[in-house]
């Protein structure tokens, strides 16, 4: 623990508060998978990634693809705090005419590098971006965040295969391993384990970390494998930070009611 990780932990808590505020205001959205990814997103947007919010289309920027697009609130929270848009917009999540669509829309919001929502597509987009940047001789990296349920899609593994076939060492694939999907625990609905061994066998340099430990997150993101993509299996808790949302499949895609909202904000002080 040092000054940097302490700062990032504070940031992550702020992002979590924004997530709850936004979803409460919208009265719909996905808190569970937004909260589980908060520490990873904080590390990426507030330390690791190189970009310029003033100049969101800079070709040499690092890219972030939210393959698990339903966690849009955590991405919007980070973009707002980094100055991509006015924070007042956050309470327009999912509203008619808002750039903050239910799932990230690259046409409507600068800072969204790829439109996602249907699971299992973001990773392929990330592979294409990494290929393109490599062709250009760019030093930029591409970060892609997937859900552990999402990786049940076959297309995910087609993209993993391509990523290591093309030796995309500018690509970082992060699995938010929170053990839940919609119909229940991932292991019970459709077991995808062992995840790390699968990534490894697909040719990725693979590390497993505690996805809420910022030291471990930073260490992992600052790994630079040679000639192969990096895979990070981040063990997380769905709903992390709000006691009654933690490990609760019911809060995958449900907004908190008034009392739950107050309780959540109290816990995130």
């Amino acid at each position: 623990m040092n000054a940097k990780t302490e700062r990032l932990e504070r940031v992550a808590k702020e992002l979590r508060r924004d997530v709850i505020e936004m979803i409460y205001a919208a009265n719909s959205g996905h808190p569970g998978g937004s909260l589980s990814a908060a520490d990873i997103v904080a590390a990426l947007f507030f330390d690791v990634m190189k970009y310029d919010a003033e100049n969101p289309h800079l070709p040499e920027r690092d890219r972030f693809v939210l393959s698990k697009g339903h966690a849009a609130p955590i991405l919007y929270a980070a973009l707002a705090r980094r100055g991509y848009f006015d924070r007042k917009l956050l309470n327009r999540l999912r509203r008619f005419g808002s750039p903050l669509q239910g799932h990230p829309d690259s046409r409507k919001l600068a800072g969204v590098d790829a439109s996602t929502g249907s699971l299992g597509h973001g990773i392929g987009n990330a592979v294409g971006m990494a290929l393109s940047l490599m062709l250009d001789g760019s030093r930029a990296r591409v970060f892609c965040l997937l859900g552990d349920g999402e990786i049940q899609e076959g297309s995910v593994w087609e993209s993993m295969m391509a990523a290591s076939h093309f030796r995309l060492d500018n690509l970082v694939i992060i699995i938010d391993n929170n053990d839940l999907q919609i119909d229940g625990p991932v292991r019970e609905v459709m077991n995808v384990h062992p995840i790390a061994a699968k990534l490894k066998s697909f040719g990725l340099e693979t590390v497993s970390i505690d996805g809420h430990n910022l030291d471990q997150i930073l260490d992992a993101l600052n790994t630079y494998p040679c000639d192969k993509p990096l895979g990070i299996v981040a063990h997380t808790v769905k709903g992390k930070g709000v006691s009654f949302m933690e490990n609760n499949v019911g809060f995958h895609g449900k907004a908190p009611n008034d009392a739950e909202y107050k309780q959540a904000m109290k816990e995130l002080l």
Binding site: R94, G102, H103
Partner: protein, 306 residues
């Protein structure tokens, strides 16, 4: 007021009791599609494939090859889009008896936005040889279609909605493939399916007061199309289609293909005009895309004046 997706769930439970070969599959959306109603009654005949729609549809085909009666669901956008090639190769090409249900169709899913709004599923499914396409207008019709489907051969696509709507048909109406006359009229024929049938009924009511006498026909079976609609169209000489779907390739597409060849008439297709959906409440989106009652009345009124 009940949603058509609930009709799917209840229908599944009924046929599960009637035939022990009925198996139900879902892709991590069982509570939303209502297939969980079947899981609750017959857990051993329910298979969750996780988020793997393509593999699920191929497996449904395998179950069908070996004598089972698979009923397979997900959101409309994923089952018809994500698994399209699986449906084409494994279900339609061998003409296997597989029943596909796409829930949360159209723009009425609202806040999730354009990535989740299914506006081309009817077009995709209708273009496949052997596929039957059913877009029921209410809970009762949906439930009846699922029960009747035990006796159908080959593949079926059933499109359901999340939004609740009024029952239009009685609960003992049964189900056949015929177009259903809901109101007779002499000036124009309105053909509709899904949630748009209630809007067609309400619009006809209002238009009647303005002197436009609409004939309203529920056309929930988009394929095979009941060509008896031509009788109504030749009587009124004008046809309007209403669907919560792109104007390309769906109900409007099917009807215009038929009339262009057999009975060219003036036609208006009410639907989504070749655009993607977006986030918003169902009401806001219906208004924006011109599917709410006011827009529908204005469009038909203008069409009748032209």
């Amino acid at each position: 007021m009940r949603a058509t997706r609930d009709g799917y769930g209840e229908g599944l439970v009924e046929i599960g009791k009637i035939n022990k070969d009925v198996v139900v599959m879902d892709a991590d959306l069982g509570s939303s599609t209502r297939s969980f109603m079947f899981k609750k009654e017959f857990p051993e005949r329910f298979f969750d494939f996780g988020i793997a729609e393509g593999a699920m549809v191929d497996a449904a085909s395998g179950l069908s090859y070996t004598g089972k009666l698979p009923y397979v669901s997900s959101f409309a956008v994923f089952i018809t889009g994500r698994a399209f090639e699986h449906i084409r190769q494994s279900v339609c090409y061998p003409d296997n008896k597989v029943f596909l249900c796409g829930s949360h169709s159209g723009i009425s899913v609202g806040e999730d936005g354009g990535s989740h709004q299914s506006i081309v599923d009817i077009a995709l499914m209708r273009a496949l040889p052997n596929m039957r396409v059913v877009v029921p207008a209410d809970f009762n019709e949906t439930r009846a279609a699922v029960i009747a489907s035990l006796n159908w051969d080959g593949p079926t696509y059933l499109r359901t909605s999340r939004a609740k709507s009024k029952n239009i048909f009685p609960d003992n109406a049964g189900f056949d493939f015929g177009a259903k006359l809901l109101k007779s009229g002499s000036d124009v024929t309105l053909l509709s399916c899904g949630l748009m049938t209630q809007i067609a009924i309400d619009a006809a009511d209002k238009l009647g007061k303005n002197g436009i006498d609409c004939e309203v026909i529920n056309l929930s079976v988009i394929k095979p199309l009941d060509e008896s609609i031509l009788d109504s169209i030749s009587k009124t000489g004008k046809v309007v289609t209403l669907e919560e779907h792109s104007v390309i390739g769906g109900l409007g597409g099917a009807v215009s293909e038929l009339t262009a060849e057999k009975l060219p008439v003036r036609m208006l297709r009410i639907g989504i005009n070749d655009r993607f959906g977006q986030s918003g409440s169902a009401d806001e989106l219906f208004k924006h895309y011109g599917l709410d009652i006011e827009s529908v009345i204005n469009k038909i009124d203008e069409f009748m004046r032209r």
